[in-house]
């Protein structure tokens, strides 16, 4: 597995911490998912922040703060600096939202913010589209990880454009690539891993499932299966049948 800014992840699942029915379910979902990274955010302090932080620390996972909801470079950069102080990490999941309905990243501002934050010493995990040129620009801006979307955040549609994601994998062979957002089912996560992606970041698919803990476990198994399948060098699909049982030696019975 590739390193993420010099860190080897215990496994390829990054799990969000939002939208769970209760803190206890969140905690159990994390334990059963085996996720090595938890995404977190910053919001106005209303009293609950410190308890939440203590629980995340007790999970013993790496923390990846986000800039969710930011629409401008300045807002995202300021949020990143605040996150650095609160969470004591140089990692930042850089989200710059460009469209209200699709939550599609504003890739122009994303590249600019990534450049500023890299110069400020951050290790940027950019939430981006599957556009190759944007990927190149992000790498040129100093990113060493790319996180293309599978589908819009929370949509559960899976990998909307597998062709583009395949191209991205082929183009950025040595770059750690994470499918971030859009995963709805374990099969989507398995597919991402089969395509050779290095990790999957998901939240809603687990947190909003009828049984989040069971879904967390399903995701863990699917990701493991997809990763093994990729390493096992799968066969190519073909149009015509090819008998798997030997033809030679068949008894002549007609």
């Amino acid at each position: 597995m590739k390193e993420f800014y010099g860190t080897r992840l215990p496994n390829p699942l990054m799990l969000g911490t939002a939208q769970y029915p209760s803190p206890a379910i969140l905690e159990q979902a994390f334990r059963d998912s085996g996720a090595g990274v938890a995404t977190v955010s910053l919001r106005r302090e209303s009293g609950a922040g410190q308890t939440f932080w203590q629980m995340i620390r007790d999970l013993g996972v790496l923390v990846l703060p986000n800039t969710a909801g930011c629409h401008t470079v300045k807002e995202a950069v300021t949020t990143a600096h605040m996150a650095h102080e609160v969470f004591d990490t140089t990692w930042i999941k850089l989200e710059l939202i460009g469209h209200t309905d699709s939550l599609q990243p504003d890739v122009f501002q994303l590249v600019e913010a990534a450049r500023i934050l890299t110069e400020d010493g951050f290790h940027v995990f950019p939430y981006t589209t599957d556009d190759l040129i944007v990927g190149e620009r992000l790498l040129a801006a100093g990113c060493e990880v790319l996180m293309p979307w599978g589908a819009p955040i929370g949509s559960g549609r899976g990998l909307n454009n597998e062709y583009a994601l395949r191209s991205m994998r082929a183009e950025f062979l040595d770059v750690p690539l994470v499918i971030d957002a859009g995963i709805g089912l374990p099969s989507h996560a398995a597919r991402a891993m089969e395509l050779g992606f290095d990790a999957v970041l998901l939240n809603t698919a687990v947190a909003r499932a009828g049984d989040p803990v069971m879904m967390a476990k399903a995701m863990k198994l699917a990701i493991e299966a997809g990763q093994l399948a990729h390493q096992a060098d799968p066969i190519e699909a073909r149009d015509m049948a090819e008998p798997s049982t030997p033809v030679i030696g068949k008894a002549f019975l007609s």
């Binding site: 969000g16 939002a18 977190v40 910053l42 209303s46 410190q50 932080w53 995340i56 605040m82 929370g154």
Partner: protein, 64 residues
């Protein structure tokens, strides 16, 4: 002095950002911004609060 703290208008006695956090009962891990600019914790004690300042105090929260 009147300021806007996390979107709500408040009258406060504090003269610095550090005093403001104390006066308003914030403790633990928080980060601060004044008028949309980040103020590191090391500068809170020397950062003077002015009338009409917009102060944001944020803490860890669930996120995806």
């Amino acid at each position: 002095m009147k300021i806007v703290l996390n979107g709500e208008s408040r009258a406060v006695r504090a003269e610095t950002l550090a005093e403001l956090l104390q006066e308003c009962g914030f403790s633990g891990r928080v980060a601060t911004a004044v008028n949309e600019d980040f103020v590191p914790s090391s500068l809170r004690a020397s950062h003077k609060i002015k009338d009409g300042d917009r102060v944001e105090v944020v803490a860890p929260m669930q996120g995806g």
